[in-house]
Symmetry: C2
Subunit: 230 residues, 2 copies
């Protein structure tokens, strides 16, 4: 089945916003982007609507659409919700998870361990995502799974940096083990608590997150309008 042009455009723009190519407050110029994607304004505007619902951009009538990157407060709130959503997954999964899934989680953890040994941060990141994906799936709640995946994708660029913290990989591994152990016992409360602690922004993670927020704000003065696109 062929996809619409506006679909791929929405995805591309979403990626550009998530990875920080567009900074907070940048105006998305219709004609400029239309030229860039080699389409008319129509599919672009359709893509904008979708981004607006996802809160990635804000549409101000007769003014244009503006990128809305989460500020420090919003970001902490999102991480907090992520932690609670994953805790819900763990709670539900504790009584629903299959033996096969438990095996797979242990296998993933094994590969995580191997990546830690070799200092392969990217490899660890991949397996870590897989670990969480299994957890979402094992909540046996497709709606919850979808919500988790979406929020995870949105937080991914911020989450990623935290892995470079010294000793973070090993600690993260240990937390994974705790989650699996609780799930194995069918201990819903313990599983929820373990994954919540794993995801929550606390300790050094907080400082790293805050400092990463100031990164995209350099290279431009406080000016809101007239952004220089690449």
């Amino acid at each position: 089945m062929r996809r619409k042009r506006s679909d791929t455009i929405a995805e591309t723009l979403e990626g550009l916003i998530l990875d920080g190519t567009f900074a907070d407050g940048d105006r998305l110029d219709e004609v400029q982007l239309a030229e860039r994607f080699d389409v008319s304004r129509t599919p672009l505007r359709e893509a904008f609507q979708r981004l607006a619902v996802s809160n990635l951009v804000e549409q101000i009538p007769r003014r244009g659409v503006f990128v809305r990157q989460p500020g420090p407060v919003a970001l902490l709130e999102m991480f907090e919700v992520m932690a609670e959503l994953e805790a819900a997954c763990a709670r539900l999964a504790a009584s629903r998870i299959t033996d096969a899934a438990l095996d797979e989680m242990r296998a993933v953890n094994g590969r995580c361990h191997a990546s830690v040994e070799v200092r392969d941060v990217d490899g660890y990141y991949r397996e870590n995502e897989r670990f969480h994906a299994i957890l979402y799936r094992q909540s046996a709640n497709g709606f919850l799974e979808d919500k988790c995946l979406r929020l995870q994708r949105r937080l991914a660029p911020f989450r990623r940096r935290q892995l470079h913290l010294r000793g973070r990989l090993a600690q993260s591994m240990a937390e994974h083990e705790a989650v699996v152990a609780a799930l194995e016992r069918g201990d819903a409360a313990a599983a929820a608590k373990a994954i919540r602690a794993h995801v929550a922004v606390q300790g050094e993670k907080f400082h790293l997150l805050m400092s990463s927020l100031k990164q995209p704000a350099d290279s431009r003065t406080g000016d809101r309008h007239a952004p220089n696109l690449p």
Copy 2:
């Protein structure tokens, strides 16, 4: 600030879908709706994009947009997530709630009680929504609050019928009291458990929910097209 036509159109369509005017599988005809709203197809298509992100409709390329009402499974999943989200609110609110908010919750519960006495289901429903809104707010997490409000609105048409269950109002009241009591003690776990039980679909609520699902399928033959708009 003046709003766009496509904004109000999206809201109107959302309302029509949520209240069941459009049944599952109905195709939203662009030209037909354009005539009805007295606009061109352009703003309609922009509205469609927004509905698609909210999973209210499904866009099948080159085929059209189709209403997607949640089936039994999806509905139970959504209620389960609602329960978990509210549990998260309660957990966070337990240590964040203000004395003023606690007072307000007690006041709302008082009005709920009065409504029960007079068998005023509508009044109870209003105050009940207010109760939950306060809880969301007291999570002190705007992102979470927003997610809760959105899901609540989506589930509202289904939730409403459950109040007509015999003895449901009194039981619901008691559950509210339990939540407030736990919050007052600052007992996060108890507050989460209480609100989860309050929201969860269980016992007789399950049967009522399932039977209400067959309701929207009457009043129309298997015909897919030509829905009668107000």
